[in-house]
Symmetry: C2
Subunit: 231 residues, 2 copies
Amino acid sequence: MGARDLAAFAALFADESRATMLLALLDGRAWTAGELARHARVAPSTATGHLGRLVAGGVLTEERQGRHRYVRLAGPAVAQLVEELAGLAGPGPDEAPRSLAAASAGRAMARGRTCYDHLAGRLGITVTDALTTRGLLRQDTGFALTDRGLEWFADLGIALVPKGRRPLARGCLDWTERRPHLAGRAGAALCAHALEAGWCVRIGSGRAVKVTPAGETALRHVLGIEADALR
Amino acid sequence: MGARDLAAFAALFADESRATMLLALLDGRAWTAGELARHARVAPSTATGHLGRLVAGGVLTEERQGRHRYVRLAGPAVAQLVEELAGLAGPGPDEAPRSLAAASAGRAMARGRTCYDHLAGRLGITVTDALTTRGLLRQDTGFALTDRGLEWFADLGIALVPKGRRPLARGCLDWTERRPHLAGRAGAALCAHALEAGWCVRIGSGRAVKVTPAGETALRHVLGIEADALR
DNA sequence: CGCACCTTTCGGCACGGCCCGAAACGTCGG
DNA sequence: CCGACGTTTCGGGCCGTGCCGAAAGGTGCG
């Protein structure tokens, strides 16, 4: 009877405080227990309990450094699950954005953000579409890079060697655009490259990113993306 | 703040009785409220409450026929989520099978079963591997059918027309084999064909299936699968 | 029409969880 | 060595929710 295990595992996500923490951790970085407690607006002692359960359940991994307790998502599979839950949770009645500040933050997130370790939002969709129309990515029969796509990554200095069980390319449902964007090893490598090469930078401390002028030039050059498409 | 929605949605899966029902519904068929109540070993009144919540949350769809209330999973996305939860729930310490009967049922399920609407277990893995080694399915750069793969389906009398948002091919993590098997529209079409053509039949009322002698012949003929590989 | 059968509504009970504050523990820096 | 800070443990209060039984709708069949 795996039902008991399934229920216990799902219960880890079935609390608003833990969900707030997990959504924050979707940026792929390690947070301290105190940061997560303040972010979720609960007492430190409460956060300790939550983090303990999430670590025990295999959702998070922890790393102790001195008096700090750093936690991060346990891996891509967990990140994918959180994204899927977030994507399926909404689709009921259309909801109006809460406040003006939330709407503004929402627009920045909708323009571009990281989704664990790859690009999402309008930016992620635009890049994925450009890869597809240029014959570097196939979406008609599944979701996979073409041989020309492998060359394109190699030209960027990114060697995509199969390692571990993570697929090279995978479609990740974008819940602001309602369409899939590139995830998997290729999506992670491309996002890392974009951040390192200065194509885009993080806004504040959240998951939102914005494309730099240099990034606009580079995207037009390597993928034929016009700056207008990113606004 | 989508955290509240995420938590409320996850809570739908965070109960053993509901999880038992959802796992049963993974066979893709419609069940009546009474059947699910008996299967989960709860009173009919309790089942009514659970089903009401699952339907309201968009996890199930219902269809009333006379004095019966038929429910089924709301769609492939929900099925995928349940499978993912089930797959990630276990991987802690290795667990020994409970009883002999459970072990026997487990072996039948491990040999072959349906996973919502496609084939899983050793049967699903074997078919997926055969498709891959024959160049009909690519897994190295993602998970997609090749052009030759499309022809192979057409030769079987299966026209794979893109319709809706469901991808043609998708990898679904098999939690008995720990490897992906073919899901998506192609996986569903192949499973339906296998059942219609008598390649395999359902065992009892569950999700387990077994390959018929005619099925062994057919699989050897169209995919070069030897019967030994299915045992 | 009346009797099964499936399903639903309603009260009431019990268990488990989430939360906090106070106090203790451990680490870092002066 | 002492104070500041991050984290943890413990106890207690509170709310949500799962469960059932009894009774009431509805539906179909004889």
